[in-house]
């Protein structure tokens, strides 16, 4: 998955020091920087990397209820560090959890915050367990192969079992993903092949659901380029079994940087280079008092993709301390499918 909400959050909390690591060299603040050609090591890399400034575990799930209706669930855990250390109550590590549940009519979102080092939130590698309060993403077998995902808020709750039906995907150059023309990069890998079953609870009651989910893991020490103002990110699963992930970083000069991956049902994938895919807003909706594009045209000529992506519930605004649009979408056109769309920078 691409540059996410956390960067925005991070740029707020460390605005004062952001300048010091705008370049590509090792920051004077001691954080590690992603290097091309580094090999991942598991189970270690399932868990947290406190030596990097930012990190997240990001799950989105497209679900269908026994009532035949479509639902979406988001479970996200962000880690952010002020210094590359761990420690108890004085730990410079901080955590933020976002979770949301979207129905065709309603959208619920909640957030949690925690300081690191005290057990309130964390991400252990082996056995894998990521949590904040009573929201958790816990391994049920080996690594990310089988996960139980839980969250509970005053308005909704869910408990879902995720079973991987394909391999993990390492984006960019074997997990080294470039984020701007200037060269900012992150480590980025995904498990896009989850089958999901479980139950969700809304104010209307409990509902058994099935569907598919996508896990993104990313960590880095570099924020967005200074001129980048927001992004539009798509993760789609087609009925053909193919997956498409693509993001476009919007610039304050309106020039966008785009990238992505085209994933075959067997897990082999092709990197999408800057400029070879285009995303065009077709229609906007008024969401929470702002205009947000909730219908898009995606064109990827290399794979003859020309689809319309539209929101299942255009009002999927995460109205949290750091707010953005995130919700389930439907794809029609040359390829049929479902997925998730995230849009930031429209606040």
């Amino acid at each position: 998955m691409s540059v996410r909400v956390l960067l925005f959050w991070l740029s707020m909390t460390i605005a004062a020091s952001a300048q010091s690591f705008a370049g590509l060299g090792e920051g004077a603040d001691g954080f590690a920087l992603p290097k091309r050609g580094t090999a991942f090591e598991f189970p270690r890399d399932y868990g947290a990397h406190p030596e990097y400034r930012i990190e997240w575990w990001y799950v989105t799930a497209n679900l269908t209820g026994t009532d035949g209706r479509e639902y979406g669930v988001q479970w996200t855990l962000f880690r952010s560090a002020r210094a590359p250390r761990i420690g108890g109550w004085r730990s410079p590590q901080t955590w933020m959890g976002h979770t949301a549940l979207t129905t065709p009519e309603a959208h619920f979102a909640a957030e949690r915050f925690a300081r690191g080092g005290i057990g309130q939130a964390g991400a252990a590698a082996d056995p894998f367990d990521a949590w904040i309060d009573d929201w958790s993403l816990t391994s049920q077998g080996s690594g990310y192969d089988g996960l139980r995902m839980k969250a509970r808020t005053a308005e909704f709750a869910f408990e879902l079992d995720l079973t991987a039906e394909g391999p993990m995907v390492f984006h960019g150059d074997n997990g080294f993903s470039v984020k701007s023309a200037e060269g900012q990069a992150s480590y980025y890998f995904s498990q896009p092949f989850y089958a999901v079953s479980g139950a969700i609870q809304t104010p209307n009651g409990q509902m058994d659901v099935t569907g598919h989910a996508w896990l993104d893991r990313e960590y880095s020490s570099q924020p967005l380029g200074r001129t980048q103002s927001g992004w539009d990110w798509f993760a789609l699963t087609f009925e053909s079994g193919h997956r498409l992930m693509t993001f476009a970083l919007r610039d304050s000069q309106n020039a966008a940087f785009s990238s992505g991956s085209w994933i075959s049902p067997d897990g082999t994938f092709t990197s999408i280079s800057d400029g070879s895919i285009t995303a065009t807003p077709l229609r906007t909706s008024t969401v929470n008092g702002r205009e947000v594009p909730t219908e898009w045209r995606l064109e990827y000529p290399a794979r003859s993709v020309d689809i319309t992506v539209s929101a299942i519930n255009p009002q999927a605004w995460n109205d949290l301390a750091f707010s953005y649009w995130e919700g389930p979408v439907r794809a029609t056109g040359t390829h049929i499918g479902k997925g998730y769309l995230e849009m930031t920078g429209y606040e």
């Binding site: 004062a16 002020r82 109550w89 004085r90 901080t94 915050f113 300081r115 009573d134 509970r152 005053a154």
Partner: protein, 797 residues
């Protein structure tokens, strides 16, 4: 014509600058005292509002330790991971030298949004807050924090005397590592694991803020307001005198203006405009002065409110349109009241009424019997209220009627006294001087009334404060019989402390208390063990036979004076302590300085009755070696701040007490100053009008210096006589304050003690003030050019 007439009227002040100053300063002083008090009250109220807001609209659901001690920090993550939405808070007092600050350590990640939650969303503030580099405080503690090298930022929603910081920073400052309590931020906990299984050592309580501070302190502010009003009244005497004189002196001018064709209506209107202008000027001046007074007094008031009620009030003042407006309103009202009579006379003046400079003073003397009758009536009203009235407002009304009645009676009383004195005076000069003194009485009476009010207030309030202090000191000696007081950190430590004290101290008296409403009032129940210390020393106002035995056997309850006076409980009456627990009242003890209701029962009964147990951390100990005991307790691990010895507690209590009445003392002195100024103003204006009386005496061979000395002597005589009349009035005032107002305002009644040495001091002060006030006119008289005295004869014919 109108413009010319107005200029003509205003020109009077150019030729009488001193009179102008008297009028302006009198009105300004009156306004200043009133505004100062209003400013203090309004600042206090704002502080209460802030405090109420910061507490999160009052109630808060908390998890606290069952044993009353700190909460171990591991419990936080346990609860959060189980889904309990809690946020930790550590609270404590940080003190170094004279500087003290209430420290509140919070976890910004989980703190629920409320008026008091810090705004940390931008500019890297969160990071600075977490690193202890950002402390959010009220303005009043910034200098103290800065002196300690801490960088503090003033934020509007932090109450006075408080500093908010990250919990880790607070741990450093308070030298602890626990939580005081956990705020439950989401109270819908259905489906969560039970608290008793997760953290059996914690219980869920609903925290109510300490009573309603605004209500508790209401009487205190009413007290201040009454004082302000009194000061204003004293100031009005001056204004009335000055305006009356100014009108009288300008009779000739009025006649001329009227003869030139100015209608009576227009003349009155012009004079009203003049008064309005003067009032505006004086009002602005007075409000400025009031601001200065309030700024000077506010720290004292803040300390008082903190000491008496635990109410936090900012020590600094902000300019508030409310009391500025109220200052102007009262200035205009006062000026209108002071000038109404004179304006009426001008409006009804016959067009060619001769200018008679003494007419005003003489007319006043005719008014004396009427005044005396009115004064006597007011005294009767005062007596009536004392007999039949009840409540604080009635108390103040009674005081007001008493004071003003006495003031109105003063001229007649002085006149009678002077007449009584006349047979004892020998020699023509003194006989003349005495006669002249009586002659002057009307012109001075208003100033003397002001002096008497100031003196009486001084005596009354002084007597009350000194009586209180004497009683309070004795009470402290009895009440604080134990030498050492200690509070353990947690129940484990409490057991150690108990064992240690049993071993080392002469007697161990565990203190157990629980908060609960008593007769629908905020209150506390204390459980005590049976011990001779209580029987020997505890100050009981009234009791049945052997009350402590009844308490020890669980067959009786002692209540404090506050509860006793506010309710109709009598000895033997039943008091419901907790639902289903009723005991007869067997005694009443005095409990100064505590605004709440209180009851004392046997400790074992209390522990058995209160559900879930109560905090068992406080101990009092009798010992002959307090410092050794203290060292031993510190070795046990009890923080030094939790151990207090008797001397410390006494010193602290007396300190609070003295600060409490510092404000009263300051206002007293200011009022006396205003009264002295009234005398100066009256004498100065009289001096110019009295030349026709003085000239013949001078012509008969009395030198100007002799005349001046007589002036001084007369002034001192007036002051002394006024003091004589003020003394009984002051004592009556003291009695009213002790027996009526204090009972209503604070809930306790005090025995009255008298302090003759203080009276002597005050008498000297009054005479000095009068002499100083008279010295300027006397000096002027001594240096008066003989030609002016001669001119009197030329002008007369």
């Amino acid at each position: 014509m109108t413009k010319t007439a107005l200029f003509a009227l205003l020109s009077h002040w150019r030729s009488q600058p001193l009179q102008f100053a008297a009028l302006l300063l009198g009105l300004a002083a009156a306004t200043a005292l009133w505004t100062g008090v209003q400013a203090i009250n309004s600042e206090a109220r704002k502080s209460y509002d802030r405090a109420a807001q910061a507490l999160g609209q009052g109630t808060e659901v908390r998890l606290v330790s069952v044993d009353g001690g700190g909460i171990h920090r591991e419990t936080f993550a346990v609860l959060r991971r189980a889904g309990w939405q809690v946020s930790p808070v550590v609270e404590g007092t940080f003190q170094t030298g004279a500087f003290q600050v209430q420290v509140r350590g919070v976890d910004p990640f989980t703190l629920p949004p409320s008026a008091a939650s810090p705004d940390l969303l931008d500019q890297g503030r969160l990071a600075r807050f977490l690193d202890g580099e950002l402390i959010l405080t009220h303005a009043d503690v910034v200098p103290g924090l800065t002196a300690l090298g801490l960088s503090a930022e003033i934020v509007p929603n932090v109450p006075a005397g408080q500093a908010m910081m990250d919990i880790t920073a607070a741990w450093d400052v308070l030298e602890t590592s626990n939580f005081s309590y956990l705020i439950l931020t989401e109270t819908r906990t259905n489906g969560l694991p039970a608290l008793a299984d997760l953290v059996p050592q914690l219980e869920r309580i609903t925290h109510e803020p300490e009573g309603d501070i605004a209500q508790l302190t209401q009487s205190f502010h009413l007290n201040l307001t009454a004082f302000g009003l009194l000061s204003f009244a004293v100031g009005l005497f001056i204004v009335h005198a000055s305006i009356g004189l100014a009108f009288e002196q300008r009779r000739g001018m009025f006649r001329t203006l009227r003869a030139l064709g100015l209608s009576a209506g227009r003349l009155t209107a012009l004079l009203a405009v003049e008064t309005l202008l003067l009032a505006t000027l004086a009002g602005a001046l007075g409000i400025g002065l009031g601001y200065l007074i309030a700024t000077a007094l506010l720290p004292g008031v803040a300390a008082t409110l903190d000491g008496l009620y635990g109410a936090s009030v900012a020590g600094s003042l902000t300019l508030d349109p409310t009391w500025v407006a109220s200052g102007f309103v009262i200035t205009f009202a006062g000026a209108a009241a002071a000038s109404a009579q004179s304006l009426y006379r001008v409006a009804t003046l016959p067009i060619l009424a001769p200018a008679k400079p003494r007419a005003w003073a003489m007319a006043s003397s005719k008014a004396r019997p009427r005044q005396a009758v009115f004064g006597a009536l007011l005294m009767l009203v005062s007596l009536g209220i004392a007999a039949f009235g009840s409540g604080l407002v009635a108390g103040f009304l009674m005081l007001g009627a008493l004071l003003f009645g006495a003031a109105l009676l003063l001229p007649s009383a002085l006149n009678a006294t002077l007449r009584l004195l006349s047979p004892f005076v020998r020699g023509p000069v003194f006989e003349w001087a005495l006669a002249d003194t009586r002659q002057q009485l009307p012109g001075l009476s208003l100033a003397l009334m002001a002096l008497m009010l100031a003196l009486a207030t001084n005596i009354g309030v002084g007597t009350m404060v000194s009586s209180f202090r004497l009683t309070f000191t004795g009470w402290l000696d009895q009440r604080l019989a134990s030498e050492v007081y200690v509070t353990a950190e947690n129940s484990a430590q409490a057991q150690d402390v108990h064992r240690f004290l049993d071993d080392q101290a002469d007697a161990t008296l565990p203190i157990r208390a629980t908060s609960t409403p008593l007769m629908d009032q905020p209150g506390q129940i204390f459980g005590v063990v049976d011990h001779q210390t209580y029987r020997d020393g505890w100050p009981l106002l009234t009791s049945s036979n052997s009350p402590w035995e009844a308490v020890a056997q669980g067959s009786g309850v002692l209540i404090n004076e506050q509860l006793w006076r506010r309710t109709d409980l009598i000895l033997g009456a039943d008091l419901e302590l907790l639902p289903g627990w009723v005991l007869p009242v067997v005694g009443v003890y005095s409990d100064y300085g505590n605004p709440k209701a209180q009851a004392i029962v046997a400790q074992s009964d209390l522990l058995g009755r209160v559900q879930g147990g109560i905090s068992t951390l406080g101990y009092a100990a009798r010992t002959g070696r307090p410092s050794e005991l203290r060292d031993g307790l510190i070795t046990l691990g009890v923080p030094a701040g939790n151990i207090r010895n008797q001397a410390q507690v006494k010193a602290f209590s007396l300190n609070v007490f003295d600060r409490t009445f510092l404000v009263t003392g300051a206002l007293n002195l200011l009022t006396l100053g205003v009264a002295a100024f009234a005398i100066l103003a009256a004498l100065t204006t009289l001096a110019t009008m009295r030349l026709p009386q003085l000239a013949p005496v001078w012509a008969m061979g009395i030198t100007r210096a002799q005349l001046a000395r007589i002036e001084l002597l007369r002034s001192a005589l007036f002051a002394a006589l006024t003091f004589v009349f003020a003394l009984p009035l002051g004592l009556a005032l003291a009695y009213a304050l002790l027996a009526v107002v204090n009972v209503q305002a604070f809930g306790w009644r005090l025995p009255m003690h008298t302090f003759p040495l203080d009276w002597l001091r005050l008498l000297i002060l009054a005479i000095l003030a009068a002499l100083i006030a008279a010295s300027f006119p006397a000096l002027r008289l001594a240096r008066l050019a003989p030609s002016r005295l001669l001119k009197v004869f030329a002008d007369e014919r």
